[in-house]
């Protein structure tokens, strides 16, 4: 079957052991106000527009014959400054495997494995399972928000070698407020992960005034106990991609007094 991805990154060094290749799945059930990959939120292909180099030549508005351009009413192949691109492409699990396996071959012993990130890879769990099946011989890792039904969660992590899971906010109400969903399901999956015996690490993005409060960090510590825990510093470039999607960075709004 086909899935939708929005990026493949070679030489990911912070996504698990060794030098890895990370596949970014498109679509996420959460909508964190600090999200720095906003093109990963919607599963649908989106038009990305870099305004910086645009000379307003208007060439992209002239009707073209490319089927991929049709939904956007813009031609993405004509811009001399490369301002337009489509984020999100459909690809089969087999096709994707074929595309990413060469990086493993190039790196040989130096290759760490593949990491599935996003967006939220569990949102396309059938596709993910098929892809995992194509990559059986490699070390596989997921970066997940942990939000999906427990059966799916169990089924997927069983087949993986390493799990990186976020616990962003310990308080259900705050989780609802800042990510759009409560954390009940996530905490339930966390217990499954813990019991699974799989190696894992918990991550918390430190967002100023939201997740980095003493209250929140103490509460997360209580939940995860002696689990390995990584706190990620706030990404200062986080808002950069919103403009390109014609969206506003929600954190900017949130932070305004």
């Amino acid at each position: 079957m086909n899935g939708t991805i929005f990026d493949i990154k070679e030489m990911a060094v912070h996504d698990g052991p060794g030098i890895r290749t990370t596949v970014f799945f498109k679509g996420c059930p959460l909508g964190c106000v600090w999200c720095h990959n906003p093109e990963g939120l919607s599963i649908k292909p989106q038009l990305m527009y870099k305004s910086k180099n645009c000379t307003n030549c208007g060439k992209c508005r002239i009707k073209c014959e490319h089927p991929e351009c049709e939904p956007f009413g813009r031609c993405i192949h004509i811009c001399p400054e490369n301002c337009l691109s489509i984020s999100g492409r459909e690809i089969s699990a087999k096709g994707l495997a074929k595309e990413i396996i060469p990086t493993a071959q190039i790196l040989g012993d130096g290759f760490g494995g593949f990491t599935f990130s996003g967006g939220e890879p569990l949102m396309q769990s059938d596709f993910l399972l098929e892809l995992i099946n194509e990559l059986k011989n490699y070390h596989l890792c997921i970066e997940t928000c942990g939000f999906c039904d427990s059966n799916t969660f169990k089924k997927v992590i069983e087949k993986l070698d390493f799990i990186i899971m976020d616990i962003k906010l310990a308080d259900n109400g705050l989780h609802q407020k800042y990510t759009g969903v409560g954390n009940g399901q996530i905490l339930e999956n966390y217990e499954i992960l813990r019991a699974s015996g799989k190696p894992y690490i918990i991550r918390t993005p430190l967002i100023s005034g939201i997740t980095d409060t003493k209250e929140n960090l103490d509460a997360i510590q209580k939940i995860i106990d002696d689990s390995k825990w990584e706190k990620l510093p706030e990404n200062t470039m986080a808002g950069a991609k919103y403009n390109m999607l014609g969206l506003e960075f929600p954190l900017k709004k949130t932070k305004q007094p």
């Binding site: 070679e10 060094v13 030098i19 490369n82 990086t103």
Partner: protein, 661 residues
């Protein structure tokens, strides 16, 4: 390291001790009818007489240039005459050699004087005289430590680590003062380690105190470098080679190697330029240690691969014991210390010009891509004919003191007298050929006349094909055999075109993968190109992918750029990879970059140079140069202070793409 001295030097306070001389030596020598070597010996004598001994508080390694200029030995008119008779390389003075400092450091200048000719004797006497001025100054300042050192060296051989470092400084200083330039350092750790080891065994130094002394020594390379000549500030050729196999096949990586990596990292200065020889058996830990230096952002170390370089040099006719001893010239050209008089940067061949020429002369009449490429190959041969035939009767100004360290009159040549030719714009040429192959000959979606019109109008006409050629066509660096194999054929064509030729000194021509400043110069010789490059846009530096090519990432790049046959093209010139600073944020990231380098070496890459960049910072530095005086960037074979560069070089650095995490 003494912080006060360091700050004193980087704030250029030592410049206050400088003066200039207004001697018209050329005129005087011309009237007296002095021969070139007499002139060089006389000028050196005057310069050493004019130099004053200046010793700063806490300075461990002394010798400072106090005369900031060096009057020419010849009048302009004489140069014109010389140039009408001879081929003159660059300035006409000797450059890019790797002199044998180390035998002299062991035996002392008095010993070297025994077999020297009268000019060399005179130069030795003069540098000893200048050294004695320093000795007197040391006595006057009550610097017992320096008195002891300067009583021994340079007259006699060094007895310990400190004397060896001071001796090196004197010899290196003398070469610059004589008027030689791009005076490289050679295999420093291999040669100097025995002195350090003996001292460590005796308990003279702790690791820390040895490092501090070495940092002062490294600082000495930066005291006068602003008055050394180059295309831009920083292009001064003070390249140091570390690591590598020795004559017995043992890999050299000793305490001094480690301390050199650390000293460079701690000093954060652009000299000396650190190179590290590695091979497929080099342990991972060494790559990790070296990557700590990469993180410092100086563009060091530059790696070279013994597995590729040594056999390739042997294939070119270098004896095994010489090939294993290779070092680098100012940037990356492989040269042999002591016995090599190769002119490793005598010319440059532009692949893109060859493609452009054939595009305009023959595209319309070619029916197949193979036919077209055969003509490109022929044109590369024609270009090599023009370059090689143009170099006849090479002449250098003889240098008596350089002769002491090279053991012969090196201006006339030595054991090896080969000429190196750079090959520039390989990515632009390969991408252009790939686009022509795909769209013109295979898919036939762009017709020949349209392409020519588009290129000749700088894509004003048929502008709709520009984004296709520029952003959608196959590009070198994506592990795509369609275009990678074209780069292979180009490099092979170049090396084949140079094979079998004999140069005017009886040596051969060596094909290389470097560009030096030609990535800007050659780019301006042609207009737009078929890869969607607009007129006046520069090529990538050295053996790198095109500046605007969309590549998948560094893993695909190292795959694409290790497929070629470097065993036939080993003049030197690295692949450059740029990494964003964030990659090095933790030890884990540093180790992973180290293992990527290791993998590059295992895949058979010949030479690699990594940069740590932060584009946001560079842009800010263009706006507020006053805040970034010490910000260092890599240019083509050397590093420089960003704010001291001309804008076109700054912009090129910014345009290179950095890989983030």
């Amino acid at each position: 390291m003494h912080t006060d001295l360091y700050n004193f030097i980087i704030n250029k306070q030592h410049h206050a001790y400088r003066h200039t001389v207004d001697w018209n030596l050329g005129e005087e020598y011309s009237q007296k009818g002095l021969s070139p070597i007499e002139r060089m010996a006389d000028r050196f004598e005057r310069m050493t007489n004019e130099e004053k001994a200046v010793i700063f508080p806490n300075e461990q390694i002394v010798f400072l240039r106090t005369v900031a200029n060096l009057p020419d030995c010849f009048t302009e008119k004489e140069w014109e005459e010389i140039k009408s008779k001879y081929y003159i390389h660059e300035l006409g003075y000797l450059s890019n050699l790797s002199p044998n400092y180390y035998d002299t450091i062991a035996s002392g200048l008095l010993k070297m004087r025994e077999d020297a000719d009268e000019y060399s004797k005179r130069s030795i006497d003069n540098i000893i005289k200048l050294s004695d001025k320093y000795l007197e100054e040391a006595k006057a300042q009550g610097r017992e430590d320096l008195v002891e050192v300067l009583t021994q060296v340079p007259r006699y051989g060094a007895r310990n680590f400190r004397e060896a470092l001071q001796f090196f400084r004197i010899l290196h200083y003398a070469l610059w003062l004589e008027g030689n330039y791009h005076n490289t350092v050679g295999r420093f750790d291999k040669s100097i380690y025995p002195y350090l080891k003996a001292d460590m065994d005796k308990g003279v130094y702790t690791r820390e105190s040895a490092l501090a002394l070495l940092e002062d020594f490294f600082l000495s390379f930066n005291k006068d470098s602003d008055i050394y000549v180059g295309v831009q500030q920083g292009d001064n050729g003070q390249s140091m080679m570390l690591g590598g196999l020795d004559e017995n096949g043992e890999y050299v990586f000793n305490l001094l190697t480690e301390l050199c990596l650390e000293a460079s990292c701690n000093n954060k200065l652009i000299d000396p330029k650190i190179n590290l020889r590695v091979n497929k058996n080099t342990p991972k830990e060494i790559f990790t240690k070296a990557t700590h230096l990469t993180k410092a952002g100086l563009g060091f170390p530059q790696y070279s691969n013994d597995d590729i370089v040594i056999p390739a040099l042997e294939k070119l006719g270098y004896e095994h014991n010489d090939a294993v001893n290779y070092a680098v010239a100012a940037c990356w050209e492989f040269i042999i210390p002591s016995v090599g008089a190769d002119v490793a940067n005598i010319g440059a061949m532009s692949y893109s010009k060859a493609v452009d020429t054939v595009l305009h002369s023959s595209l319309l009449e070619c029916e197949t891509y193979d036919e077209f490429f055969a003509k490109v190959k022929q044109e590369i041969g024609n270009e090599c004919d023009r370059i090689c035939d143009g170099i006849k009767n090479l002449w250098f100004v003889p240098s008596p003191f350089m002769n002491v360290l090279m053991g012969c009159n090196v201006a006339e040549g030595s054991k090896y007298n080969n000429f190196g030719i750079h090959g520039t714009g390989i990515a632009t040429a390969a991408d252009s050929l790939a686009a022509i192959k795909k769209y013109v000959f295979e898919e036939k979606t762009i017709d020949k006349a349209t392409l020519l019109e588009a290129i000749d109008s700088n894509y004003e006409k048929h502008s709709e094909i520009l984004p296709i050629l520029r952003f959608e066509a196959p590009k070198l660096g994506n592990n795509d055999d369609f275009v990678d194999s074209i780069a292979t054929e180009l490099l092979d064509s170049f090396s084949q075109a140079l094979q079998g030729r004999t140069n005017c000194r009886g040596g051969i021509f060596r094909a290389g993968t470097g560009s030096a400043m030609f990535y800007l110069w050659h780019a301006n010789e042609i207009g737009a190109s078929a890869d969607g490059r607009r007129a006046k846009e520069p090529f990538g530096t050295n053996y790198s992918v095109s500046l605007f090519a969309k590549v998948k990432g560094p893993v695909s790049v190292i795959s694409s750029m290790t497929k070629q046959h470097f065993e036939n093209a080993i003049n030197g010139g690295p692949l450059t990879l740029e990494f964003h600073q964030s990659v090095f944020a933790d030890e884990d990231g540093i180790e992973k970059v180290g293992s990527l380098v290791k993998r590059y070496i295992e895949l058979g890459g010949h030479q690699l140079q990594l940069n740590t960049v932060n584009t946001e910072q560079l842009l800010d530095a263009q706006q507020h140069p006053e805040n970034y005086k010490q910000l260092v960037v890599r240019i083509w074979g050397w590093s420089a202070y960003f704010v001291e560069l001309d804008k076109e070089y700054q912009d090129h650095v910014i345009a290179r793409q950095a890989y983030t995490v």
